[in-house]
């Protein structure tokens, strides 16, 4: 939070400068500010980010790899390698993950894929750096897309209401993180839980507290990023769309951490579906990547598999029991039942990641159901 506060302060203080300079210079100045700040607080990270980007750019620019497939493999592997190494070393407690690595590595992979698909032109080095060095999203995402970023840059114009929307979003973010997340769910609800004598109810409340806090922290930080983006004049994609209003798990994953889930859809699910012609394999793989992005560990593998199974069951039930599915997704009462069901499904699936190991996982479930 301290870093995020520093980033926010820098963004707010430099925003008059951004709005003062001609459009052509805005992106360069934003990138320069980000670079200076990162070079100061996380030099390894910025070095890693720019080196990988530079190597990818060399591959695109000089075209020495003729095969499109090998080229995409190389340009995806370049950011993937440090990501995997650092995540692995982090999981074994040896290294710290460079600031923002999980996010910028995925952005770099996104660009590599889009270039391969020819959905975007191979970026000029400066444009690529401008995209990667965008301070509002460095710390905690979203994994915004380069064409959207460039379009937002092109459409940038001073708009007082957009600026105040940005400030408002920052305020919402702070309220979500500090009041709703930290105070209400993390502190107060946990205290209430501790006072409950029933093991099952205590654990249930703890699960609710954990899930609520996770959502408000994450959504709050996304609000900060989106608000800061608006203050600098760039519209960043929404990352959460009222996920607990979803009536089934498939819908939930379209609303929760959208930038990551859509990334997994575009760069894991779709290529694998195209390759294997089997959407189940593609779905399980996508959910596993989504899970392992958080942490390389057994508990996340289990969690990811559970999410995939829940989505599969949603799809399966829609086919097998269309009446029930229609009621849950269509009827006003059914929709609320669906929402409560989705919330609890997700909350209980989070026990997998809240548990240190399989033994404690078993104990946790035992406490709830006995």
């Amino acid at each position: 939070m301290r870093l995020q506060a520093l980033f926010l302060a820098v963004i707010l203080f430099t925003s008059p400068l951004i709005w003062r300079v001609p459009n052509y210079w805005k992106a360069n100045i934003m990138a320069a500010i980000t670079f200076i700040l990162l070079a100061w607080i996380a030099p390894t990270s910025v070095l890693l980010m720019l080196s990988v980007a530079f190597l990818q750019w060399l591959v695109w620019k000089y075209d020495f790899i003729k095969s499109g497939r090998i080229k995409v493999i190389v340009t995806v592997f370049l950011p993937l390698l440090p990501l995997l190494v650092y995540k692995w070393k982090f999981a074994t407690g040896q290294w710290l993950i460079p600031l923002g690595l999980s996010y910028y590595a995925f952005r770099q992979i996104h660009v590599a894929f889009e270039c391969y698909k020819a959905e975007m032109q191979k970026p000029a080095l400066l444009s690529y750096f401008q995209y990667l060095l965008f301070l509002p999203v460095i710390l905690i995402g979203p994994i915004h897309r380069m064409p959207d970023f460039q379009r937002s840059l092109r459409r940038m114009k001073w708009n007082a209401s957009q600026y105040s929307d940005g400030l408002e979003r920052i305020l919402y973010g702070l309220v979500k993180i500090d009041f709703l997340g930290n105070f209400l769910f993390s502190t107060q609800l946990t205290q209430v839980a501790r006072g409950v004598s029933s093991h099952a109810l205590r654990l249930y409340l703890e699960v609710i507290a954990f899930t609520g806090n996770t959502y408000f922290q994450f959504a709050g930080f996304s609000d900060l990023a989106i608000g800061a983006g608006l203050v600098w004049g760039i519209r960043v994609m929404e990352n959460f769309n009222a996920p607990f209003m979803a009536t089934n798990m498939q819908d939930f994953w379209r609303r929760w951490h959208i930038s990551l889930s859509s990334w997994c859809r575009d760069y894991v699910f779709q290529p694998l579906a195209a390759l294997s012609r089997n959407r189940w394999i593609a779905l399980i793989s996508a959910m596993l990547v989504l899970a392992l992005w958080h942490e390389i560990s057994l508990r996340y593998i289990v969690w990811g598999t559970v999410q995939a199974v829940l989505i599969l069951l949603t799809v399966y039930s829609r086919k097998k029991t269309p009446a029930v599915s229609g009621f849950i997704n269509g009827h006003p009462v059914g929709r609320w039942i669906g929402r409560i069901w989705v919330f609890h499904l997700f909350a209980f699936s989070c026990i997998f990641i809240g548990s240190e190991n399989i033994a404690s996982l078993g104990t946790n479930f035992k406490h709830i159901f006995h």
Partner: protein, 602 residues
């Protein structure tokens, strides 16, 4: 006419390019400095200068400075070929020629002609390295424009308003080398029309107009820098319009609160396929008008564009001879009726039959115009001038009808003129060029209907017996002596041309004959590369022997944004595939096209 320039706040932007803002202060200083240069070269009010400078800031400053001093500008296309340039110069006898270095090298004018060469300060290489290695201009010959300008003492006061009957500029319209017409517009014509344009478009000092059309055409120059200077507003010219810039074009207007966007129908046609997610491009409070100029706006295009972008498209009818417009269908209240050219503003019209008798409402006749903005004459050509006027009315050569409410609709053309993508082409000029080949016995250039460009220039050719000349070879020859936009898109080798009793080629019959000729049937050999090369050869009009899989839009002469679209649609038709937006934008090499088709064909 230029009072708004002289009195403008020097900090206000006159011209906004992609990276740089040129202020009114810059323009004011330029006018004084260029006026000083004119003085030092003894170029006086009433003298003529030829301008062929591609650099937009410098060209607009030169043009406005000449206007301010009552000097007649002969506007020449920097791309025009040597014979045309020489003819223009010899017919106007200019006091000076100011043109780009490359253009002058190409024109190879006699050394006796007074010339100033424009050459931008050179930067070796591009990108950062190039900028570090920036070379100072070391060689500055005595006829270097920028050096002469630097040496000239700026005048202390802005020039007095020139007499209204002085000729402000001459533009030579398309035609054969001998009969191209020099449209002479006086200061009075121009001032009258600028006042009309300002009124019709509802412009003021806060307007921001974006006009990406060529400065060597009236619609680019007059409705760009000159209209901006007259109004005291800002002209935006961030880049040249090209197919890969369409999304940037739409975003630029939005981001910069452009109030008036000037386009030709071909641009609207090219923008439409890229509309997805850009539908709100004209939805901002500052936006006032999207103005289609230069060519007929097809009703279907008009409908589609207005539906998709939810913005009214204003349609202007005008000719080089009328400065820019005459009849306006919007944005002025009361003039808008879709599919028409609206109503005349600040001028009178008559629709007449061959006996010059006014015809009844709803009937079709020739549209005649009278007003302060109508040209003075065709330069040094009293015969042509006489033919163009009757009883004080200018004969537009366009067939039109007027409804009971006064709205005018264009029905066709009386004169033989092709308007392709907003560019006027006199077919005789093209025919004359083709006939120079000794293997050709007869030729006729005509405009064929085209969805994107309105009309597309093609030519029918009769070869002499025994000749094996191909269409591509003929096109290659045309490219040597005609500007790129006047090179036929396609040559049809036919046995004979349909003629009437007088022996004149019957254009309608010829068009029908050519429409019935099926496009050359490309044999699908299964080898995509050969077919893509054949289509590229046809689309870019380059012999297939000169093309290879390694060619890109940078290495093929005819691969411009217009030809690009034709390349794409031909590939789609031939291979029965559909390219998405990104593929269209990124397909900039033969290899990429081939690979994409291979992928699509699995």
């Amino acid at each position: 006419m230029l009072e708004n320039v002289y009195s403008q706040n020097p900090d206000k932007t006159f011209l906004q390019t992609r990276q740089k803002a040129f202020t009114y202060g810059w323009l004011q200083q330029k006018i004084k400095q260029i006026s000083g240069l004119f003085e030092s070269l003894s170029i006086k009010s009433g003298d003529k200068i030829v301008l062929a400078v591609a650099d937009e800031p410098e060209m607009s400053a030169l043009f406005i400075s000449a206007l301010a001093n009552g000097i007649t500008v002969v506007i020449a296309d920097p791309e025009s070929k040597a014979p045309r340039a020489k003819s223009t110069i010899s017919r106007t006898n200019p006091k000076y020629i100011i043109a780009d270095k490359e253009t002058l090298e190409h024109w190879q004018l006699p050394s006796s002609l007074p010339v100033l060469t424009f050459q931008k300060e050179s930067v070796s290489g591009t990108g950062l390295l190039g900028k570090f290695l920036k070379k100072n201009k070391t060689e500055s010959s005595s006829n270097d424009y920028l050096t002469a300008l630097e040496k000239a003492t700026p005048v202390s006061k802005f020039p007095a308003t020139p007499a209204p009957d002085l000729i402000a500029y001459i533009i030579f319209t398309s035609g054969t080398t001998a009969d191209s017409k020099g449209v002479s517009i006086t200061q009075g014509n121009l001032a009258a029309h600028l006042a009309t344009l300002k009124k019709v478009y509802g412009m003021n000092e806060n307007s921001r107009l974006m006009n990406l059309l060529f400065l060597c055409h009236a619609d680019g120059c007059i409705q760009g820098p000159v209209l901006a200077a007259y109004t005291g507003c800002t002209w935006h010219k961030p880049f040249k319009f090209a197919i890969e810039k369409i999304q940037e074009f739409l975003d630029y207007g939005y981001a910069n609160n452009i109030s008036h966007v000037f386009v030709v129908p071909a641009m609207l046609n090219m923008v439409l396929p890229f509309a997805e997610n850009y539908e709100d491009s004209f939805q901002y409070p500052e936006f006032k008008a999207l103005i289609s100029v230069s060519a007929h706006l097809e009703p279907s295009l008009w409908d589609k564009f207005e539906t998709v972008f939810k913005v009214p498209v204003s349609n202007v009818f005008g000719l080089t001879e009328t400065v820019a417009g005459s009849l306006f269908c919007g944005p002025l209240t009361g003039t808008y009726r879709k599919y028409s050219v609206g109503k005349p503003v600040d001028c009178e019209i008559r629709i007449v039959n061959d006996q010059f008798e006014e015809i009844a409402t709803g009937q079709t006749g020739e549209l005649c115009l009278r007003g302060d903005h109508i040209m003075k004459n065709y330069w040094a050509d009293p015969v042509l001038t006489d033919e163009a006027f009757a009883h004080g009315w200018f004969l537009s050569g366009d067939l039109a009808s007027q409804d009971a409410d006064g709205f005018v609709t264009i029905r066709g053309r009386k004169k033989n003129l092709i308007i392709s993508g907003g560019i006027n082409i006199q077919p005789e000029e093209v025919t004359e060029c083709i006939l120079r080949n000794p293997d050709i016995s007869e030729a006729c250039a005509v405009g064929m209907p085209d969805e994107v460009f309105g009309e597309r220039l093609v030519a029918a050719v009769v070869l002499k017996p025994g000749s094996n000349l191909t269409g591509t070879e003929i096109i290659e020859e045309c490219r040597q002596s005609l500007e790129e936009k006047k090179v036929p898109n396609r040559i049809f080798i036919v046995d004979s041309l349909p003629k009437g009793v007088s022996g004149k080629v019957q254009l309608n019959a010829l068009r029908d004959q050519l429409l019935n000729l099926q496009p050359r049937n490309l044999v699908n050999t299964g080898d995509f590369e050969d077919d893509v090369l054949s289509i590229a050869s046809e689309s870019f009009q380059v012999p297939v022997t000169r093309l290879s899989i390694h060619d890109t839009s940078q290495t093929v002469a005819g691969w411009d944004s217009l030809a690009h679209l034709s390349f794409i649609t031909s590939l789609e038709d031939h291979f029965k595939v559909r390219f998405n937006t990104a593929e269209v934008i990124t397909m900039n090499s033969i290899r990429k096209a081939t690979e994409l088709i291979k992928v699509k064909h699995g």
